[in-house]
Amino acid sequence: MAITIALAGNPNSGKTTMFNDLTGSSQHTGNWPGVTVEKKEGRLKGHREVVLQDLPGIYSLSPYSPEEIVSRSYLVNDRPDAIINIVDASNVERNLYLTTQLLELGIPVVVALNMIDVVRKTGDEIDVKKLEQALGCEIVETCALRGEGSVQAAERAVALAKNAAVTLTKNTFAPSKNTITNTAGNAHTSSLSKEAPRFLNRRTAFSNEVEAALDSIGSLVRELGAVKDKVAGKINNGEAYLRWLSIKLFERDAEAAKDAGIADTAEGKRVLAEIEKITTAVEDKLDDDSESIITDGRYNYISDIVKQTVKRKNAFALTLSDRIDRVVTNRILALPIFAGVMFLVYFIAVSTVGAWGTDWVNDVLFGSLVPDGVANGLAALGTAGWLNGLILDGIIAGVGAVIGFLPQMLVLFVLLAFLEDCGYMARIAFILDRIFRRFGLSGKSFIPILVGTGCGVPGIMASRTIESDNDRRMTVMTTTFIPCGAKLPIIALIAGALFPGSMWVAPSAYFLGIFAILVSGIMLKKLKRFSGRATPFVMELPAYHLPTPGGVLRTMLERGLAFVKRAGTIVLAATVLVWFLSSFDTSMQMVDTTDSILAIIGDKIAVIFSPLGWGDWRAAVATITGLIAKENVVGTFGVLYGFAEVAEDGAEYWPQLIAAFTPLAAYAFLAFNLLCAPCFAAIGAIHREMMDVRWTLFAVAYQCGFAYVISLIIFQMGRLFGGGGFTVGSAVAIVFILTLVWMIGFKKPYAVPAGERLSGAPASEVA
């Protein structure tokens, strides 16, 4: 039988790092809370029968943001065979708050005291043996980053799970709050897998009044339908479950009542009413609400334990991280520092280091070396003309055009990985909160946006840590306005071909993205579907640390590999299709591109885009293929313009682009492609987050509409001021501008009728 072990713990405590270490997988990690938003499954290295579950970080078993629901429902309803609770050793007290709750689930728990190296460095001391006794669970000191102790923790969890399956049916739950029945203390250091597990899971002791109330609640629900089965042994350690449920019901946790199946029966409702009476009585007596009573009880229990087991040097001495924070979040310096960092990232990746690499690959590698080599080889083999065409004009021209941008991507990935790992990311969210708030977004929206500069799909998923539905939906809709890695080639192509030597085109693409996000924020916020109050900003900030070169390189290689894989699969397939459609006519005769099937189709579509200045059918086709993957825009140009050129002398197709576009039209083309609906993968991600077809359609329609309007304004106004004369197009552009100005500046926000419950706002905002 497979054994499942869950990795649970506070956000940013190192769960995924340990998961990767134990399973040999390479899930994305980073130094900010909320990197993991989905549960991930893997098999323990060397023990294929053991399944490990990596879960999103949680502060307690009462979820606050959407990704936390996943963790809670997995732990409570799916009940893994054992839990490895990862505790950040440098912050034991807060982390143990969750531990007390996990211990109550009646599932064997091993505490992994992670980042123990940090504690040792600061000179704090943790008495592990005493802590083990106090909690009644085994503790393993670990440093997941260096792989220390992880295997030990996993082995202990496996042993506990195997043992629990035998003993727990007898309901041997730690009996009392006063007796420590734990005997062994030194055993965890020697021959771990052979020693008998000590599964006691001591429970938090609350005050007498609360304990009495919990007992009465327990006896009330013990006999209820679904609960009865569970307590009677349907799940391991049913008594513990009963206690846990009693606490949750005392806290008025509606979710727990629903899960236990007592919320919707008549009998259940009667019992719930009785529980309400018990709870209110205790609340009156202690003059506090039940949730706070439980919270305080837990913290008191923990601080007693911590007092005996942890020796702190000085908790309130300023650390290096604090000193850095005083500078980088300083009210005057924060924004200039942030702007500087961002400029540096894109300057290095797009304009300098990355561009040198890309130039070399485009000019030398795919400009002459590869095509010449392959052409010579094919000539020597004497292959058929159409095959030469497919390989040289189709595959090499198309895929080569995309792969050419790999150096820029790699540099960008290195810099992003560094930003994610050092801890600055969470600070950016904090700094930008007060600005984003004015535009109807949360500071946390910036994390998805920054992740989205690598790829929109994880960017959209990162929005899951945003608590409010409104802010989250808005972030999902606007995240892909920022140029992702796959749009980078489009920017570099337009900048390189039509604006040679200019510094501003690449950065302007990012400013355009930010502008689109902020403007959309203002406009969307005024719509009825987004109306509501702003949610408060609260976020834990991780300690800064210097990323390891290995970690940064691994992230870079992984993302780089994903990019190459896409080029070798989706882009390759699309390129071949484009080549085919552009080389043959409807009667399957090989013809000139301008007479091909694609030209006929493209001409029809191009009409839509001619007001934007790029009515050429090739540009229209490139835009459409961009929906499959944004790299295709460049790949398609490679095929459509590359043709004869590449085959003859290997020259690039840039000169042909210059002939086909005016700079103004090219910029309008760029703007449209950056802002319009993202690739299908990202639209899929939007749909997953929205969980509603109408919302997805609304998002995509909004993105395309917005892109069209902006692109049209750029082209028509540019032409008007460039001396092109006033036309119908100029009039339309002016109407669009006025509409935007009205939406941003003058339209009144949708007024929420007093007393009406907001559909989008979380319950807390209404209470």
Binding site: Y59, R326, R331, F430, F537, V538, S764
Partner: protein
Amino acid sequence: MPLTLARPQDGAMIICKVGGKDETRKHLAELGFVAGEKVQIICEAAGNLILNVKGARIALDRQLAQRIMV
């Protein structure tokens, strides 16, 4: 006084009350903001605060900081 009136140089202060009655308050409690706990302001930017509580570094906006009385 509300935390928004305190300054970084005030050092560690004791929380006497966390106002409001909602999920946000519960979340604050889970993060360590409970009555009787020590809290220290690390830095302040336009009313938004970075705080040290229970050995963790938490960023709060002004709106929330106002609900924490020290």
